[in-house]
Amino acid sequence: MSLVLTCLMDQGVLSRDSLEIIGAGKSIASELGAELAAAVIGAETGAICEAAGEYGASKIYSVQDAALENYYCEGYLAALEAVCRECQPAVVLFVTNAQGRGMAPRLARRLGKTALVDCLSFDADKETGRIVFTKPVFGGKAMAQVAMSDAPAVVVLRRRSFEPAQPEQVTAETIQVKPSAIPPNPFKLIERVEEQQEGVRLEDARVVVSGGQGLGGPEHFALLEELAGLMGGAVGASRVAVDSGWVSSSKQVGQTGKIVAPDIYLAVGISGACQHMAGCSGSKVIVAINTDPEAPVFGSARLGVVGDFKDILPPLINRVKEMT
């Protein structure tokens, strides 16, 4: 029976990213009639192995080594390579976090393959084992369907594009894998700075209020902050706003920025470039506020308000204030 291998890089608790990988892995496995497996790497892998089992992985490959206490690409890659050589998976899954982006192409190369990064969906054929993944190209202006017929297909799924897995107890078998050698980190870590976010994390926010070129300058972001604050949400921005220096790059939503999937995504003065919409297309309701009724953003929005944000946001803020 072929295997769909999900690569879980967490320590201690399963992250939302990993749950999405498992969620996607489950559906791919069921389409292919394959078994769901998980690779778990760390100094102490027990908790994650157990969690992976709780979420439906029936085979769990654990690489446990003191050297692997913290993530570093070189070591984790060697561990994963060992797992792949051990279990010969048909599909290896990552998500587009820094780890997934950094490891997948290298792992694929080591296995003599080319990875496919940033996939939104898949279509699997049980008979042939051929899976076609859909991936946005040209900044989202086109969708490429790429056939991955050679095993293993190394694929990086787009974050927030697959439903996270639900718990489902199966009998899981844990296999300890011992790589022949774990290479040291070729880089010395000088410091790691976790960016402190005020309020809610952009990716976790239920409401995201984003501003773009149409805001015309950094000063109007205060309005967005106020509204987001009142709604318990976070502020995002388009690349133009970031490149113009109006807000920090950590607020950038889009294909090469943060991928968000809130309940409400309020796009203010954002024209609706594909690269940007790619970062918020998973939102439940996209609301566009733009002066130009022809702006492409209305093509992706569920609700549209045609008008100047300076006329609309202040009364909107007042209404939200009244409600809370």
């Binding site: 820094a98 190209v137 946001l313």
Partner: protein, 256 residues
């Protein structure tokens, strides 16, 4: 130190979606009347290389591209911001989803040039493959730092700042290495000085021939997505009315 910066000429990513068309019956975009530019992340990579050269005397920056003769335009741009050398690895065929092939050719160029460091942009703005630098590192057997925003010299070593999902990390490493660069306010590409632009037009582009090897991924189809969302325009005479109606609709949709 010899820095090799990999540059790709791509279809202008700023091309508005409504102008984006595909060649009739082919799985490739129409290029008629569309500007070709240097891929944005490669511009950031070039800037990182140039900044490092300024801080490390004796460093040279060589711009390398893989592609047909026309792709030489990006090399001219690199020369205009004073890259020391410009090398084209000729490749006539249209290579899409061919990270392996291109990375192999670039690795060959790096060996030929005797490079100590290779800088790549994190992903090209056309096929968004996002892996050249990483495969290249595997080919060369060099360590690779991903999502680098800047490199500084530091006590005989190099200090690399890399973006993480939340925040950043600072790494110390030695050459040879590969740096995969992402955009940051510190690596906004510089604008060429006019005299350098004029001089760049007269400079000779070097050629290095390397055989393409490897396979491309199989492109099954390429489509321009049809947006299915029907946008409902919230009515209202003025801002207040529109805001009220918006709140109402959001409540009805049960997201508020």
């Amino acid at each position: 130190m010899q820095i090799m910066v990999c540059l790709k000429q791509i279809l202008d990513p700023e091309l508005p979606p409504r102008e984006f068309r595909l060649e009739e019956g082919e799985m490739t975009p129409a290029t008629e009347g569309v500007h070709l530019v240097m891929s944005p992340f490669d511009q950031n990579g070039l800037e990182v290389g140039l900044q490092l050269r300024e801080k490390m005397p004796g460093t040279t920056v060589t711009a390398v591209t893989v592609g047909p003769e026309g792709a030489g335009d990006v090399l001219r741009k690199a020369l205009a911001v004073k890259a020391d050398r410009a090398v084209r690895v000729p490749l006539e065929q249209d290579c899409k989803l061919s990270g392996n092939i291109i990375a192999g050719m670039l690795a060959g160029a790096a060996r030929e040039l005797g490079a100590d460091m290779v800088i790549c942009g994190r992903q090209a703005g056309d096929w968004d493959g996002g892996q050249i630098g990483l495969i290249l590192a595997e080919e060369l057997g060099w360590p690779v730092a991903n999502l680098v925003t800047g490199i500084e010299p530091g006590s005989g070593k190099l200090v690399l700042k890399c973006e993480l999902d939340e925040g950043y990390e600072v790494l110390e490493g030695n050459t040879p290495l590969v740096a995969v660069v992402t955009n940051h306010e510190t690596n906004v590409p510089r604008i060429a000085k006019v005299k350098d632009t004029m001089a760049a037009m007269r400079k000779k582009l070097e050629l290095i021939d390397i055989d393409p090897q490897g396979n491309s991924l199989e492109l099954a189809s390429l489509e321009i997505p049809v947006k299915e969302v029907n946008c409902e325009i919230v009515p209202g005479e003025d801002g207040v009315e529109k805001a009220d109606n918006l709140i109402k609709r959001l409540s009805e949709l049960k997201v508020l």
